[in-house]
Amino acid sequence: MTDSNTTISQVSSASDRPLLEVRGLSTSFHTERGTVAAVSDVSFTLERGKTLGVVGESGSGKTVLSRSIMRLNTSGNAETTGSAVFDGEELITKPMKEMKNLWGRDIAMVFQDPMTSLNPVVKVGRQITEHLRHHLGFSAAEAKATGIELLRSVRIPEPEERFNNYPYQFSGGMRQRACIAIALACGPRLLFADEPTTALDVTVQHQILNLLGMHQKDRFMTMVLVTHDLGVVAGRTDEVAVMYAGRVVEKAPTSLLFSEIKMPYTQALLSSIPKIVDTKHTRLAAIPGRPPDLINPPSGCAFSPRCAYVQDRCREERPPLADMGNGHSFACWFPVGSDESERAYAHNLAAGLASAVMVDVGRKRVAS
């Protein structure tokens, strides 16, 4: 028994290391208006077979983050620094030629908008199989058989006929299924799903997410699920990183995060989801203000202009991402639930600060 255990641990020692380790990753875009710090100093570790949810509103840098790790920021004015180690290989400094061997084969991406991410003039079948032929040297017949199997595995009915369709003959949900089939084709070890359901109907969203989850389990695939919807990550991820203004502001194992939200932004994001128990015409708890300008970010905490708990310290000094020791880290001087934060909130409410008043409305609603 000990023997066999040793063998297993020896074999798995190489695969004990995390599949993806991101350290101090920053990406900025040089534009005419100035430098946009789209992603700043992001670090996380992703173990094999696990799913990380990256959550944030539009412009929080979540899409840029996944594209930076994949080195898919092709616009030419993007600059990425820091480190992203994929299975022992540093990606950020890797020559593009070698990245191309990883793309589609070891690391794949499902894009946000299935309506535009399939080529309208190329048959779906070829789009699902061309990288099989390119990376794995499949013959046309092998590729076709695999392609049809892939379509079947993403639950597209009559895959033999659908293989020869053009994308316009597919519905939105079917297109996203096809995109998932494309991403899964070569059996990648790491999958980025960049808002895979944002462009879809609510009923279809659920099916697509279940499909992704099923394949992730079956294939022991590691996944980064990018979304703006905390509800999406709730049951489907092992860990969640909340991003704001290009930085991770709170990160925790999923269950821990939802039971102990520390960062006011995460709390605001969660309470902005309408609840089924709400009475009709309940005012939506929107987050006041808008995401900060990333060319001239506010000093101190980037969320301070919109925060209900904001104090002078928040406006002057940016809180570091501090780990509580249980895997829960957050960047806030007045974390939700602490006495300081309640005092800060009461002070802001008395002063009539818009963001605090909004939260007050929400609280009264819950209480009544």
Binding site: T74, L102, W103, S117, E130, H131, H134
Partner: protein
């Protein structure tokens, strides 16, 4: 698909009818008396002969009557006879047509062979020195009229180095090699401007296409740049090219007049010019109708090519 073809053919017939009428109407507006053309200047001009000619050509009938008479004959393949050569107009056209067609298609072929790679490379390397230098050359070519290019080519290849015949035409049936040598210079003169137009179109469309999400998804699959450019981006980038290609083939078929004159090629354009000088109305009418029909037919074909290139149109049209 069959509905699309039917609707396009119906539209085509309507256009051809309109074209034939306008052609007839415009040539009949030309000043001068046809009788003067038909009778040699030295011939005696007695009223009987003149009346006989006018009667034969139905010159005294109202225009609409003449038009439908001419149209009826034309539909049966009888476009009348040349006043000057006395040969049937149809024979005049078919004798000259192969030269003009060959000239047009060789010119288009040359320009496409150069323009497609140039446009694709410029778009792929947008903003780099490669793009800037190719685009610069294209800009220069665009501003050189075909006859200027023709004169230069004649001077360089025909006079200075004496590599190619400066003028004249060898039929392909006589000598394919000789034919190639005579078509090379005139076709190249026509090709330069076309090349420039096509290269600019492809470059512009390709730059737009390369920003599409589906190009990013293709990249994320790890496909080679070459494959993405040729198999994913080229087809969606060729719609404006195909439109302009249709228009330009049409206008080249009727518009090689200057080049045919310059290189002394016995093509359709040159025959048209002779017809105009001689007031050989039926020849002019026949050629103009023919060229206009070719123009309309080619553009109808282009509409059908769209359907092949972009499958989405199949649904929109049907």
């Amino acid at each position: 698909m069959p509905q699309i073809v039917l609707s396009r053919v119906a539209r085509l017939l309507a256009t051809l009818f309109a074209v034939s009428f306008i052609t007839f109407f415009m040539t009949s507006l030309l000043p001068g008396d046809v009788v003067d053309v038909i009778l040699p200047p030295t011939a005696p001009r007695d009223p009987e002969t003149v009346a006989a000619i006018r009667a034969e050509l139905r010159l005294d009938d109202p225009m609409l009557v003449r038009y439908f008479g001419w149209l009826g004959d034309a539909l049966q393949g009888d476009f009348g006879r040349s006043f000057v050569s006395q040969r049937p107009v149809l024979d005049e056209i078919t004798a000259r047509l192969p030269i003009t067609i060959q000239l047009t298609f060789v010119a288009i072929l040359f320009s496409l062979i150069a323009a497609v790679p140039a446009g694709v490379i410029c778009a792929y390397r947008q903003g780099t020195w490669i793009d800037k230098s190719i685009s610069g050359v294209v800009q220069v070519l665009l501003s050189i009229p075909a006859f200027v290019a023709g004169i230069f080519l004649i001077w360089f290849f025909g006079v200075k180095t004496n590599l190619l015949p400066a003028t004249g035409w060898v039929r392909i049936s006589e000598s394919p090699w000789g034919n190639f040598k005579t078509v090379l210079l005139p076709a190249s003169s026509l090709a330069f401007v076309q090349l420039a137009i096509f290269a600019r179109l492809i470059r512009a469309d390709m730059i737009t296409t390369l920003q599409e999400n589906y190009v990013l998804s293709a990249r994320a699959k790890g496909l080679s740049d070459r494959y993405i450019l040729l198999r994913h981006a080229l087809r969606p980038s060729s719609l404006s090219l195909i439109t302009v290609l249709g228009l330009n083939i049409g206008s080249l078929l009727g518009g090689t007049v200057v080049i045919e004159q310059l290189f002394a090629l016995p093509g359709l354009g040159r025959r048209l010019l002779e017809g105009i000088f001689n007031r050989d109305l039926l020849v002019v009418q026949g050629i103009v109708l023919f060229v206009a029909s070719a123009y309309v037919i080619i553009n109808t074909l282009v509409d059908l090519v769209y359907v092949v290139v972009d499958p989405r149109i199949r649904r929109k049209g049907g």
